[in-house]
């Protein structure tokens, strides 16, 4: 009898929490299942690469031929002759992941030509694929192009291990976890005091104090990562001012999003689930580890639309590649703009929460 009573209670619970239950049991699985379409192949076939004519004598036909060959394993972007530096700069900013310098004579049967393939040492996950791509290019060019084509692979930058590469990503992952899981949890835990805070002060002051404490607190995991990296003799500088700035900026916009969701959903379970979904979604689609273009062109486009992707590019560029912050000015301006938008979203959600009154 008691089992039947408890079962009926469970059914009532299901009915009362139908929104969360549908989100967890229907919407989430549907999203995850649908998202698999963004993972189409293991070999990187859609990574953006730059094609730069070696000099003015390279013809449009030769560029087209090279474009045709590279389409088998990449997403080629053509540059003008003399734009090698611009292409390399684009590679440093992860707009492209390799630069192919196209020599003249590709369509000349009697010519022996060498295509130079420039890649970055620091982009560790692209190292093995780039070796494979050089071999594929050698094979494809031999099959398709009249000239006898060789490929010379040039690695620029400093040699880095996979561990060093992952340390900079780890710092970003902790930032995401902090913003999407921990901060909403601690605010939800204090929810019962909100009414008194609204009388004695305001939710704005409450949020300001939270940000004022949590932002410096985030320095602790960054310093911990740096300490471990130093102990392991890794060449990573997570405490470079630019790297810290972009990590903290990332924390601010992610936290603004997660708290905005919590206020909009009135701190219900559905809000926490949405934040967890966003956390995993951001992890899967922001290309934090692999270059954009791995797995599918769709995933590349999603990553290019994700602010988190640019946060990672800037943080990695400064902490791992040792670049100056000036290299990423446009990205940073975009991130600052996005942060302002996220803070506006948070403000709107607080106003919504404030005006809703007490319905407990």
């Amino acid at each position: 009898m008691s089992l039947r009573s408890l079962l009926s209670k469970e059914l009532r619970w299901l009915r009362r929490n139908i929104a969360t239950v549908v989100l967890v049991l229907v919407v989430l699985p549907a999203i995850v299942a649908t998202c698999t379409v963004a993972f189409q192949q293991v070999i990187p076939r859609d990574t953006p690469v730059a094609l730069v004519p070696e000099d003015e004598s390279v013809t449009d036909d030769e560029m087209s031929a090279m474009r045709g060959v590279t389409t088998f394993f990449a997403d080629p972007h053509s540059y003008e002759a003399g734009e090698r530096d611009r292409a390399v700069r684009a590679m440093t900013r992860e707009e492209v992941y390799a630069v192919f310098v196209v020599p003249p004579g590709l369509l000349n049967e009697s010519a022996d030509v060498t295509v130079e393939m420039v890649v970055e040492e620091e982009m560790v996950p692209y190292e093995q694929p780039s070796l494979a791509i050089a071999s594929i290019l050698r094979f494809q060019a031999g099959q398709i192009l009249p000239a006898n084509v060789g490929v010379e692979r040039t690695a620029v930058g400093e040699d880095r291990t996979l561990s060093e590469f992952l340390v900079s990503i780890g710092a970003m992952l902790v930032t995401m976890l902090f913003a999407f899981a921990y901060v909403p949890y601690i605010l939800a835990d204090e929810r019962q005091v909100f009414r008194r805070i609204r009388v004695e002060s305001s939710l704005w002051q409450l949020l300001a104090s939270k940000f004022a404490v949590l932002i410096p607190l985030l320095l602790i995991p960054i310093l911990t990562f740096q300490g471990i990296a130093a102990y392991l003799n890794f060449s990573v500088n997570l405490v470079a001012p630019g790297a810290i700035a972009v990590t903290l900026l990332t924390f601010v916009y992610l936290t603004a999003i997660s708290l905005g969701i919590m206020f909009l959903t009135r701190f219900e379970t559905v809000g926490r689930m949405l934040n967890v979904t966003l956390l995993f979604g951001s992890l899967a689609f922001s290309n934090l580890v692999y270059p954009a273009g791995f797995f599918s062109p769709l995933r590349r486009e999603i990553a290019k639309a994700s602010p988190l992707h640019y946060s990672m590019v800037v943080q990695r560029g400064i902490s791992l590649k040792g670049n100056g912050i000036g290299m990423y000015t446009e990205y940073l301006l975009g991130l600052v703009g996005f942060t302002v938008l996220c803070l506006c979203f948070l403000a709107g959600s607080v106003v919504y929460y404030d005006r809703g009154g007490y319905r407990g």
Binding site: D189, E190, V193, R196, R198, S201, G357, Y358
Partner: protein, 222 residues
């Protein structure tokens, strides 16, 4: 002399539910004013309007610019801080007039025994006492109390009743919201009876009729 609180033709609706319907009410300073009514009659909504926690759908709410303190039906404090830390935080936030007043509140509510306990681990009665102490910390001119005696034992009720009697003077006003008027009979100056979001009775107690009698008569329960 402090200005009174005025509500003029105030209505509050949550979707299809009307919590308050065209309410006109004045809370005079220097009185103990009791808002009484059955559960769901709109009392707590009115308190929220006075505290600025929600806005009227229509009408005007005027609260003078003086310190307003409150104790809520459900306790509102930081559960992860101790009693002492909660008192410290809100004394600083709301502006406690002095250490003496804070010590007096700790004494009245007997909070000395539990000052180092986490507030979230206190039993219901202690949580209520802490909430009342937090509401009184800034020695407010208008003190708004929602079911202040709920969960309190007899000794605590007696002490609070004494405090409230002494607290009220020309400049200090107490607005008590409750569904059990009998607990306040000996200290109430004015009674407002709510039912279904409307005022059924509003007037002073003349000394011949008790608050409870007036309440029961108004609702036709005598």
């Amino acid at each position: 002399m402090v200005d009174p609180i005025h509500l003029v033709d105030v209505s509050k609706r949550y979707g299809d539910v009307t919590a308050l319907d065209s309410v006109d009410l004045t809370v005079e300073p220097g009185k103990v004013h009791c808002l009484v009514g059955p559960n769901g009659s709109g009392k707590t909504t009115l308190l929220d309007l006075l505290l600025g926690l929600t806005r009227p759908t229509s009408g005007t709410v005027t609260v003078p610019d003086v310190p307003v303190g409150c104790s809520f039906q459900s306790p509102t404090f930081y559960p992860g801080l101790s009693v002492r830390e909660n008192l410290d935080v809100f004394a600083r936030l709301s502006g406690c007039p002095g250490e003496g007043w804070r010590a007096a509140l700790v004494d009245v509510f007997d909070l000395g025994h539990v000052e180092d306990q986490l507030a979230g681990t206190l039993s219901g009665g202690w949580q209520k006492k802490l909430d009342l102490a937090l509401g009184l910390l800034k020695r407010p001119t208008y003190l708004l109390l929602d079911e202040p005696f709920s969960d309190l034992d007899d000794v605590a009720q007696h002490r609070l009743r004494t405090l409230l009697t002494d607290y009220c003077d020309d400049d200090r006003t107490i607005l008590v919201v409750t569904h059990r008027v009998s607990a306040f009979e000996d200290i109430v100056d004015r009674l407002t009876v709510f039912e279904s979001g409307e005022i059924r009775y509003d007037g002073p107690l003349d000394g011949e009729t008790t608050a409870r009698e007036q309440y029961m008569t108004t609702l036709g329960l005598d």
